[in-house]
């Protein structure tokens, strides 16, 4: 009976790797062409000069930095779900962990690309790395951008390893089930994994340490991204709340992205038996909690600014709430708070479709939130003579859309090459073996005494 379960799990979860329909190729082609357009647009920007964007005095950061913060925020999905649920040993995490960790890795890669895209001279981005140069000059460690470099490098390394380690036993499984060149590739990827008790223990110990280590790294990464703003004397940027505010927002958008990705995977890879409505419900409850937490931070920040009456800050507050940015601001409130609150707190609406709807609105709302942090403040700094407005140009819009396509493309390709649900972890959860009693355990020790 248990063997049947095992075989069914393996077959179901390996099917996407083995069977490919024309729909897959069509999707890859469409997404690939959007990504290629984005790349071509970026090179067009480098060739023609940064002026083809909508950036202007005094709004020197806009869409690209919004995207940067947005994608780094999305990357908190994997860590928090995977690492925290692993540490508290929540059983329902098992089908969810790899979906989440994959989002982290790809979102980080895309997010890390944006500081390069937004540079005036991007071919010199390597000056952010500390290397002994012939000029004997090093990066300025006082700059939050250098902190970004270190934080994102650490987090990316950690996330890739956190994703890759539990993939090793699954690669061994794919190796066993495949033939020909595929077998050779997966045999190499599985590093000769056997599954001895020692290997399992080492793997699980390593996963435990990684889970403990990756959480402070994740918190620090988005805190450091928030420091890009809070270290500058710009009205409504120079706020001490930015660290926790951004981390909460990141977790918030990360969970939303995870729900969307899981729903897509469930639908297109026919994994209805493994991703149950209860998984979505649990994540939906987490999403609701994060929505309230986000709203709490926004309220605390805005109340302080409104109450404090500092003229420059108040100006930025009003321009978002009542001025030219008001439509975007109130859309954000509806998307981030009202819709999730209604949909996710009523059990009847907290279905898979409901959770996915709420997640989509949250993703839109969180993108708007990043935009509304960056642009209104820069447009209304301390000297009114220099205030300005921002309008995005086609370059920025195309590149933004192409990164969403890139995320979907990477996710699609990944789920074609690697089982999107961690098979061995799922098996452990499906049939836990009977617990031995202490007396029985003692019996075995008698035998062990025999040299």
């Amino acid at each position: 009976m248990q063997e049947e379960i095992t075989r069914r799990i393996s077959d179901d979860l390996l099917r996407p790797l083995v069977e490919t329909s024309w729909r897959f190729w069509l999707l890859v082609a469409v997404l690939g062409s959007v990504v290629a357009t984005g790349l071509a647009t970026w090179f067009y920007q480098i060739y023609n000069g940064f002026g083809i964007t909508g950036i202007r005095n005094p709004i020197y950061w806009a869409f690209y930095i919004t995207n940067f913060v947005f994608w780094i925020g999305i990357s908190h999905a994997g860590t928090l779900i995977s690492a925290i649920l692993r540490l508290v040993n929540a059983g329902w995490r098992r089908p969810v962990t790899r979906c989440a960790e994959v989002i982290t890795v790809f979102a980080l890669m895309i997010g890390a690309l944006f500081p390069i895209i937004h540079l005036g001279r991007p071919w010199l981005f390597f000056w952010l790395m500390p290397y002994p140069s012939e000029r004997q000059i090093w990066p300025n460690f006082r700059s939050p951008l250098v902190w970004d470099f270190f934080a994102i490098t650490t987090y990316l390394t950690g996330s890739v390893l956190f994703l890759a380690l539990p993939m090793i036993p699954d690669f061994a499984l794919v190796r066993d089930k495949s033939t020909g060149w595929r077998r050779r590739v997966y045999a190499a990827l599985s590093l000769g994994w056997q599954g001895t008790t020692k290997q399992w223990h080492r793997l699980e110990s390593a996963m435990q340490i990684m889970a403990i280590a990756i959480i402070p790294v994740a918190v620090s990464v988005h805190t450091i991204v928030s420091f890009d703003f809070s270290m500058a004397p710009v009205p409504m940027w120079h706020s001490t709340i930015f660290g926790p505010y951004f981390v909460a927002g990141a977790i918030f958008s990360g969970i939303a992205a995870l729900i969307v990705a899981m729903a897509a995977v469930r639908r297109f890879l026919h994994l209805e038996a493994y991703l149950h409505p209860v998984h979505f419900e649990n994540l939906g409850k987490l999403l609701l909690m994060m929505s309230l937490l986000w709203a709490y931070f926004v309220f605390a920040e805005r109340l302080t600014v409104w109450y404090g009456n500092e003229s420059a800050e108040r100006e930025v507050l009003l321009v978002t709430q009542r001025g030219s940015f008001a439509p975007l601001y109130w859309t954000m409130i509806v998307c981030n708070l009202v819709i999730p609150f209604v949909v996710l707190s009523l059990r009847k609406l907290r279905t898979i479709a409901g959770c996915v709807t709420a997640s989509f609105t949250v993703l839109i709302g969180m993108w708007l939130e990043r935009f509304l942090i960056v642009v209104p403040s820069l447009g209304h700094k301390y000297l009114p003579y220099s205030w300005g407005t921002y309008r995005p140009r086609p370059v920025e819009i195309i590149i933004t859309i192409s990164t969403f396509a890139a995320m979907m493309l990477l996710y699609t390709l990944f789920s074609k090459l690697v089982p999107i649900i961690s098979i061995w972890e799922l098996k452990v959860g499906e049939h836990p073996f009977a617990q031995e009693t202490a007396a029985e355990a003692g019996n075995h020790r008698l035998w062990k005494a025999n040299p």
């Binding site: 000769g192 280590a213 620090s220």
Partner: protein
């Protein structure tokens, strides 16, 4: 047969209880714990046979890696800031607040890398060359075996493995 020389001898079980009995019988037959190999497609925590090999230096390795990262980061930031002292924003030349951020990140990076490297080394990965394995393990069977058994013990090992319960016995590299 007595005097048979084989590369490995193992049996496949469906039930971890049988595995436990087989392991106990092998111990009774005089084999060391470190010679007995148990292979499965998923970790089986709850049985005694998997309790050996549990102790690990991995946590200490992670700590050591963290310390290495911390020392390196402290050296990197203070050394570079003192090598070419450039004044920025009325801040100190060796700026401790920002340096602490770099120190934190590289500490965590050191811990993470040390954990992964130690784990790969301890788990003997990547493992090239011949290894004891059977594709049926992928279907949920648990393998218990001995690699390079002394030729005199082959029969007693066979008996121990078969007495464990329902099993399929296999030999690798058996010479008639």
């Amino acid at each position: 047969m007595e005097g048979e020389s084989v590369t490995a001898i193992y049996a496949l079980y469906s039930d971890p209880d049988h595995v436990q009995r087989a392991v106990d019988n092998l111990r009774a037959a005089g084999l060391h714990d470190r010679d007995i190999v148990v292979i499965s497609s998923e970790p089986i925590e709850e049985y005694e046979f998997s309790a050996r090999d549990k102790a690990t230096w991995l946590f200490y390795a992670a700590g050591f890696g963290g310390v290495v990262g911390l020392v390196f980061a402290t050296w990197l930031t203070t050394m570079t800031q003192k090598a070419w002292p450039i004044v920025t924003g009325n801040m100190a030349i060796v700026a401790w607040w920002p340096n602490m951020i770099i120190m934190f990140e590289l500490t965590m990076l050191g811990a993470i890398l040390a954990t992964v490297i130690t784990m790969l080394v301890a788990a003997n990965l990547p493992k090239r060359g011949p290894k004891l394995y059977d594709p049926e393990v992928a279907d949920g069977k648990i393998l218990v075996g001995i690699e390079n058994p002394p030729s005199t013990s082959v029969q007693s090992i066979e008996r121990a493995l078969l007495s464990g319960g329902v099993a399929r016995l296999k030999k690798i590299g058996a010479r008639p």
